[in-house]
Amino acid sequence: MLRRYGRVLTLLGLSVVQLAVTLVAATCLLLSFALGMVFLYPPQVRLVRGLAQDVRRRVATWTGISIDPPYLPEPPPPQPGPDGMYLSERTLYRTPRIPAWNARWKWMMTDPASWRDSLWLLLDPLIKICLLPLLLVLPGRGLRVYALWCELLLSPTTTSRLARQLTRLNRVRNLAADSQAAEMRRIERDLHDGTQARLVAIGMTLGAVEELIDRDPASARALLAKAREASADTLTELRRVIRGIHPPVLAERGLADAVRALAMDSPLGVSVEVDLPHRPEPPVEAAVYFAVSELLANAARHGDARTATIDIRGDDADLRVSVTDDGFGGADPSRGSGLTGIERRLAAFDGLMAITSPPGGPTSVTMVLPRALPQHWAGNLPTMPRWKAALVALLWLTAWCPLFPQGIVAAIFKIIDFGHRSWFLALYLPGPWQWPAILFMIVLGVAMYVLAITIPAAHARERWMVQTAPPRLWFRP
């Protein structure tokens, strides 16, 4: 209780600071827009943002209502053109200073969050005065109401949320594209240095055989044997390359058996546990397969392990993979390029990797690919709550009553002045009330129909969002 009053006191104390900031900010704004002293604008925005951020933090610790910063992502530093100049609007600059300043200015000006912050700053004292009685009597409740007020203006709008998401997706996409390009280069190298060179050699040998076959059949025969041997070697080489692209077992049997095959080929004693109701999508399977393969190889090579455990399971729509070995530990992602490779592969699926590897072992690596499995496996598509379904049914069953007999039919009776009042409620009312009552009935009936249609529609939309929105960054043709 005392602590709550302490918080209320802090909140009121903050008002003094806020008032000072409001004065400074207003002056800055006035100077920058009325007198053109634009250089005052960015510091003003920084000041207000700093204050708002401080309040967000306090509100989160006081009430548990966390408000994310709403600001659009900062613009990237300007890139020089091919001629070494920096382009901003339609002007070229020698140094990046002015283009950078312009970009920042535009970023702050156009971000609605800047203006929402200012509005909040302006209105905040009024709200505090209104809430003062509540804050003094029920400080807990009061702080919550204050937090809700802050949330109204200080939380991100859908636009800024989407903008943030977009920047993140861009980054992940670049990462995925990079790792794919690196993979392509590796395959190209393998084919170029291995398979292609061997085929050239076989062709040359066969050419020599063609020359020799009449003059010296014995050496031609020897060369043929050599060519056959070389073709067998080429096949072996090609198999190795194919394994690196997409292991055939994975294509033939799916993740579970492919990981079992990996376990069998490993010199370690590996036990495999796979609990997946269906096969994940091929790109996910490949990422997990190569990650497990790399981890097993690491355990055997560096960790001197004797046994390992692989556990792959679906946790709702998340795919969880853990690989544990009894080696002597000390694995460090910053040293081994293998682990960073895995991280990069997983990044394309929003995947995360956690490593615990104390010196002396055991090493345990856990990977999570959030929402990598189709949502419907988990069976947690949002279903309509029962009361809503019942309400919709009730609306469909009863909406005709106010609309047609009580509304439209009563109106017709009234217009043609039909003597009967029958069971039309409106006609029993005193004269001046009859028309309003009829109109009310019609509006009521229409509203009931509208509700009966919109409730399931809103739900269907929500369901559709869940089905299509998983952050999958790949497409199936």
């Binding site: 056959r228 055939p248 077992v249 033939e252 079992r260 095959a261 080929d265 490993s266």
Partner: protein
């Protein structure tokens, strides 16, 4: 004269296999190109030996392997030689799991050496086994750290590899340039070290070795 069924979806390879086997005195009773056809052919024709590609239409996954396993469940011991572009211990274990012999599992590359390939087909037709050296190498590599195998001498290891591929004592002695009695001595040594009961029958002996390697 053995009756052979061939299941392979690539026309060139299928045709080549038909010619190769006819030239070596086999009768090709059917040459099919998809999984369902294969299963029907295996069960109805009961060929003396079948040569089956792992990947077949319609799904191009492990259609051929599944058909072979299904047919052997219906007709125990039906001789099948499985061909593939890659070998997996996993598939070898599945093929050997029923322990009844008459099974082969080779890389497609082995067709390049006609003599050895036809020899393998004959062995499988006779109820023996023909395992690809690469499968055996993988089996041994994944068992490398286990005690009894680590205790074998290099010579015994060579004999073990050849034996696991499905070769008889006579074939092993030819390949390793040893006398047959020396091979017999080595096999006895291997069986003693691995703790397996000795057997005079070639096929049963091979199956024992493979079962031993697979059990680890």
């Amino acid at each position: 004269m053995s009756r052979v069924l061939i299941a392979e979806d690539l026309y060139l390879l299928r045709d080549g296999l038909v010619h190769l086997l006819q030239a070596h005195g086999f009768t090709v009773v059917a040459a099919v190109e998809s999984g369902p056809e294969l299963l029907d052919g295996l069960v109805e024709l009961r060929p003396d030996v079948s040569i089956v590609d792992v990947r077949l239409p319609p799904t191009f996954t492990d259609e051929g392997l599944q058909a072979a396993l299904a047919a052997r469940r219906q007709v125990p011991g039906l001789p099948v030689l499985v061909l593939s572009q890659h070998v997996e211990q996993l598939y070898a274990r599945e093929l050997l799991a029923d322990g009844s012999g008459g099974i082969g599992y080779l890389l497609k590359d082995r067709v390049l050496n006609a003599e050895q390939f036809v020899d393998a087909v004959r062995r499988v037709a006779g109820g023996g086994t023909a395992m690809d050296p690469e499968v055996i190498a993988k089996l041994l590599a994944s068992n490398a750290r286990h005690e009894p195998l680590a205790a074998l001498t290099p010579r015994e290891r060579e004999v073990l590899e050849a034996m696991a591929e499905g070769r008889s004592n006579a074939a092993i002695s030819q390949r390793l340039y040893l006398s047959e009695s020396a091979v017999a001595k080595h096999t006895a040594g291997i069986f003693a070290k691995l703790g397996l009961a000795p057997s005079d029958d070639d096929n049963r002996r091979v199956l024992a070795v493979l079962a031993y390697l697979n059990s680890r």
